[in-house]
């Protein structure tokens, strides 16, 4: 198999099993995102692949060549850390050139220049890293990890320490940089917007296991379990009978229907349900209604609703059918 393949990886910290038998593969040129709550084992898996943590079992291979016992610095993998981990005693250029020390000086300088352009910081080479803002520092960290041309780049929540606006902007910068350099990447995040924006395939991890690894569309429309759907933001989960009454997708007995964020629509021809609460978010109105089974569900509307009841129906495309 070409690219990265991870088989039965187990990472332990003492008695704690952080990664519990994970299989995963990343093809050359592909960007795979790993989603998971904190404590799900996604960062530990990344460190296991990098060689920063020993695998208690399993194997890591690149192009079918087993690298499980190869030391970190000889794997040809790169890593971008959550807080950058820039070397404070080196300048911006010194940081980026750190992994290029085998190259002649001129080639090194040219490579540094080129990467500063890729991350949108041309001319920053001579600055000390202590003068960089949080966003600039992460761009330099990206340039540094791309500089040696790693055959696989591991990104460990590289944007999570930044504020929201900056994060949304840098996701674009990151994606462009990875695509223009044709870098194969494994990207760990707890932010699904980031994952879906960047990745060719997205994996969801929980309690050290890989629950599902699929392309974004399949993952979103056909989550394999309630756990995955829950993590993606489906709620509430209703039984097949209620789903049918509300005009939702066909589900077999014992199956569940998860209502996605846009799964419930206001429709005058639908079922009237009592309104519990209404609130604004980013110019829209979120209307909570009480379903016949007692759970709350949310409808997004353009303006506030007058009246104690709202007629709604399920949108088939916005719902997911799940095993019970």
């Amino acid at each position: 198999m070409r690219g990265l393949s991870v088989t039965g990886a187990v990472v332990k910290y003492g008695d704690l099993v952080a990664v519990d038998g994970v299989d995963a593969a990343v093809e050359p040129g592909e960007i795979v995102a790993l989603l998971g709550a904190s404590g799900s084992g996604k960062s530990s898996l990344l460190r296991g692949i990098a060689g920063l943590e020993p695998l208690a079992a399993g194997r890591v291979a690149w192009n079918d060549e087993d690298v499980t016992t190869v030391p970190v610095h000889k794997r040809g993998f790169g890593m971008m850390f959550q807080d950058g981990q820039l070397f404070n005693h080196l300048s911006v250029a010194g940081n980026i050139a750190y992994g290029l020390y085998r190259q002649p000086r001129a080639a090194r300088r040219a490579r540094v220049e080129k990467l500063l352009e890729v991350v949108g910081l041309p001319g920053y080479g001579a600055r000390p890293v202590s003068e960089l803002s949080g966003g600039q520092a992460q761009r330099v960290a990206l340039a540094r990890s791309l500089a040696p041309g790693p055959r696989l780049l591991l990104l460990d929540e590289p944007l999570s320490a930044l504020d929201r606006n900056l994060r949304e902007h840098l996701v674009g910068v990151l994606g462009d940089a990875l695509r223009t350099t044709g870098t194969t990447a494994l990207y760990v995040t707890h932010d699904q917007d980031e994952a879906f924006a960047l990745a060719d395939r997205v994996g969801v991890m929980d309690a050290g296991r890989m629950l599902q690894l699929d392309n974004p569309d399949t993952l979103w429309r056909r989550p394999v379990s309630r756990r995955v759907a829950d993590f993606l933001g489906y709620e509430p989960f209703i039984d097949a009978e209620l789903a049918r009454r509300l005009g939702g997708p066909d589900a077999g007995p014992g199956q569940l229907v998860g209502i996605g964020p846009a799964g419930l629509l206001a429709d005058a021809a639908g079922t009237a349900l009592p309104v519990v609460e209404q609130r604004y978010r980013r110019g829209e109105v979120l209307i909570d209604v009480r379903l016949p089974d007692g759970q709350l569900a949310t409808v997004t509307a353009a303006e506030k609703h007058d009246g104690e009841e709202l007629s709604v129906r399920l949108d088939r495309a916005g719902c997911a059918v799940l095993p019970g």
């Binding site: 610095h73 959550q82 981990q85 070397f87 750190y98 992994g99 020390y101 990890s145 460990d156």
Partner: protein
């Protein structure tokens, strides 16, 4: 840059947070079993690390553990075999108890005075903001690095019958020695307490004020409990320094006053009663161990969670009404206790039988009235050469120890080993220099180490004394390195050697200047061990000063003054250069 203290360095990623909650000592199964697949270190790396452990440990074993252990054994072994007679006869002598009482009394009084005077100083210099504070802080910390012999000479001339304070009749008295000890240790108190106080979150006290507490009540109920552990920690350190003070007591005590340290010297070199000296050394070890125990207890307590902030947040501008009392006390201490003796020493060094002039300094090129075996300048040169050698040994070993002790091995066994190594190399700090020097004298005088007449003995003894200071300076710098920095370097293709050089090495280099300074200044002024080992034809500057001060005659006294000024200037210059390159992480 972030304050290193506040930076948290998880060894495991956030994802595996529960693993961090595990207490450090209970990680029986920390290492993966034999089935674990991991990149392994090469045989070369293993050999190099083993060397980095074995060389310093071997050095410490031969030149510290063995001499001290033999010394202790000497107290119990006579020609007839194992016997408690030697110890018993020393313990039965009233003289011993008088000396023990004097030692403890002196240490207790010196500590109490240092705490009382040090608290206002710590408040003013670390809690208040005012122009010129940095200069004041630097000036206050000068006395601590001054050689004990110099301090002794300065105070002796101050209190001597012909000195400006001669009228007090305190020459060779308990009180005079205590004042000199406070001079020496004041900055220890100010620094230890001030470092914590400056970072104490003022909002806790503000909360108490808002709840209706008066400033006095706030100080007693909020501030004092918070800085209490630092006071205790500083006080036990000061107690240790006072109880093992040698140079000051030797110079100022004369024949009338002695402590355990000076008595060991007296029994060894004057009465040649080695069993008695050994028994006294054991007594000294007990005193030292007790105060170290209190110190470590206090330090553990001071690690309790406190609300701390960066320096800037916790400081307040100086205000006359509120800060009048601490300002007056600190001003008085600064001028009276710290300033007067130093100024007096310099002034007195220019006073000669023929009026003011450079005569005392000119005499440094001679052997005085023949009481010295070499001219003072030659002794100064000896000191510089010996200090350079000692510094080299201490820094090389200190770097090795710090590198090893800053590792965080995965295997619990190795991690325990690393902690043990750290602790073992602090031991010389707790064992008096006199004990080390005396131990050298009785063990390194026969095969396999017949070094009695070797000139290398003094630098080695001084290196042992300086080694803990070097480690204490370098280790915090290396420990402050986020382990992920090394991981980042490895991920960029740097092998273990390059990681060590480009990450650890680059940062340690910043601490190295201060470490070299401490080592050099320590050995320059070292008197305890050196006084045992120094050969008559090859004395160091402190030894010469001590000999001069013990001789009658105005010229001898004047030469002692001038030589003390030279030694003080040398030490201050070394420390000033070292402070200039001091990194924030280094403590002390």
């Amino acid at each position: 840059m972030d304050s290193p203290v506040e930076r948290v360095q998880p060894r495991v990623p956030v994802d595996a947070a529960p693993a961090q909650a595990r207490p450090a000592g209970s990680s029986r199964e920390g290492a993966p079993g034999p089935a674990a697949v991991r990149p392994s270190a090469g045989p070369l790396a293993v050999a190099l690390w083993a060397g980095a452990v074995l060389v310093p440990v071997g050095f410490l074993a031969v030149f510290f553990a063995w001499p001290v252990a033999s010394l202790v054994a000497r107290g119990f072994v006579t020609e007839a075999g194992f016997s408690l007679d030697g110890v018993r006869s020393v313990l039965a002598a009233p003289r011993t108890w008088r000396i023990l009482g004097q030692t403890l009394g002196l240490a207790a009084a010196g500590t109490a005075a240092s705490v009382l005077l040090g608290l206002p100083g710590a408040y003013l210099l670390y809690r208040c903001r005012f122009p010129g504070r940095a200069v004041l802080r630097a000036m206050v910390s000068v006395p601590f690095v001054l050689p004990a012999v110099v301090v002794g000479v300065a105070f002796r001339s101050l209190f001597s019958v012909t000195g400006p304070l001669g009228g007090l009749g305190l020459d060779e008295s308990f009180a005079a020695i205590m004042v000199a000890l406070v001079f020496f240790n004041y900055s220890v108190m100010v620094r230890t307490v001030g470092a914590l106080w400056s970072r104490l979150d003022p909002r806790t006290a503000e909360a108490a004020r808002v709840l209706g507490a008066s400033p006095v009540r706030v100080f007693c109920t909020v501030t004092l409990p918070a800085i209490g552990p630092a006071i205790l920690s500083g006080a036990s350190l000061v107690f240790l320094f006072c109880a093992t003070a040698f140079g000051i007591v030797m110079v100022m005590g004369g024949v009338g006053f002695s402590t355990i340290e000076t008595e060991i010297w007296y029994q060894t070199t004057q009465l040649l009663d080695l069993p008695a000296a050994a028994a006294l050394s054991i007594l000294q070890l007990v005193v030292v161990a007790a105060s170290l125990l209190v110190a470590s207890r206090a330090r553990r307590r001071s690690e309790h969670a406190l609300r701390l902030r960066g320096d800037a947040g916790a400081e307040q501008p100086w205000r006359l009404r509120r800060d009048l009392l601490p300002t007056l006390v600190t001003g008085l201490v600064g001028v009276g206790l710290l300033g007067v003796p130093m100024v007096h020493l310099v002034v007195r060094s220019f006073a000669t039988a023929e009026g003011w002039g450079w005569r005392n300094y000119a005499l440094l090129a001679t052997t005085g009235d023949g009481s010295l075996s070499v001219p003072v300048w030659t002794a100064a040169l000896n000191s510089l050469v010996i200090a350079t050698q000692a510094c080299l040994v201490a820094v090389v070993l200190g770097v090795l120890v710090s590198l090893v002790a800053s590792r965080r091995p995965r295997s619990p066994g190795l991690a325990r080993g690393v902690r043990l190594l750290d602790a073992v190399f602090m031991l010389p700090l707790g064992v008096s220099a006199v004990t080390v020097g005396f131990g050298f004298l009785i063990t390194l005088n026969r095969p396999p180490f017949d070094l009695r007449s070797s000139p290398i003995l003094i630098p080695i003894a001084q290196a042992i004394v300086a080694l803990p200071l070097v480690v204490r300076t370098l280790l915090p710098v290396l420990r402050a390195i986020d382990p992920r920095q090394r991981e980042a370097a490895a991920m960029l293709g740097a092998g273990p050697g390059r990681v060590l050089a480009s990450i650890d090495g680059a940062l340690a280099l910043r601490g190295l200047g201060l470490a070299v300074g401490f080592a050099f200044a320590t050995s320059l002024g070292e008197f305890g061990a050196t006084s045992f080992l120094s050969r008559p034809d090859h004395p160091t500057l402190p030894v010469v000063i001590f000999r001069l001060i013990g001789r009658p005659g105005a010229d001898n006294f004047g030469m002692a003054m001038a030589a003390s000024v030279i030694l003080a200037v040398l030490t201050a210059a070394v420390m000033a250069a070292a402070e200039a390159v001091r990194p924030r992480e280094a403590e002390l």
